[in-house]
Symmetry: C2
Amino acid sequence: MSERKNNLRNRPTACCTVANPPAINASTGQQYAAALNALADPTRLGILNMLANNQEPVCVCDVTAQFDKGQPTISHHLAILREAGLVFGNREGIWSYYSLNRERLTELQTMLATIFSPAEQQTASFIPLALAERP
Amino acid sequence: MSERKNNLRNRPTACCTVANPPAINASTGQQYAAALNALADPTRLGILNMLANNQEPVCVCDVTAQFDKGQPTISHHLAILREAGLVFGNREGIWSYYSLNRERLTELQTMLATIFSPAEQQTASFIPLALAERP
DNA sequence: CTAATCTATTGACAAACTTCGATAAGTGTG
DNA sequence: CACACTTATCGAAGTTTGTCAATAGATTAG
């Protein structure tokens, strides 16, 4: 469907001067959207906020105790955050401990700031987010 | 389901010292998640980026021309961005022009930074995002 | 008024997501 | 080994979301 186009320039009145296109390409946009999608859930935001409030890694049992959700649900959300590279997970004995990947979160914030800035400031800044493969 | 709790403290070995709870409440978390949800789509990120690249408001026809999506789909995404307060929409004659709500985007970035910061820096900062009702 | 044009809305459908109950996997204890 | 406990995974139900075709609404030109 990529020949879709407007024909405004051929008509007597144009809606506007031609607008600048987006500076972000489709594949990069998809990566960024996926990262944001991992954030866009109240439970996951709560988990991230809880991790931010603890200097030390937090035990899954403590996470589960803080939300009105079943244990499989919390485990699922933690997996999503983990696969998005937003948190680290470490097993110690029967317990699992999670902590923030602060570097990655900073990266995300920079990404957002870049998207919302005019093109001049975007030069060569649409670096694909390193899709961290984490334990 | 809110009596759910762990019983670790009653057992011989505890997993950890008790972790700090999240500082964000459920209703605020829902608002923030909704705002992020509006961002978490490649097409919508592309639209926002396109608006960021244009000082002047952009005609819908120009937006439609830049993406491999049908006109109703673009209109739908614009409505989502509008209802999330991320963009302004103005009709002029038969044309509609959209522009960034930069203030709101800054608000979002501040919100994210707050969520990811330790509790000391969150004091009284979980202000509900002003749910802008815009034309 | 009629026709043409641009945008928004509606209805439908498939894909993705959140949640849960049940169960498996992994670990430590008696 | 058998048992208890924590966490992860699986399968299913219900909801939400992205997309399109069709259509309605609004505006301008003739």
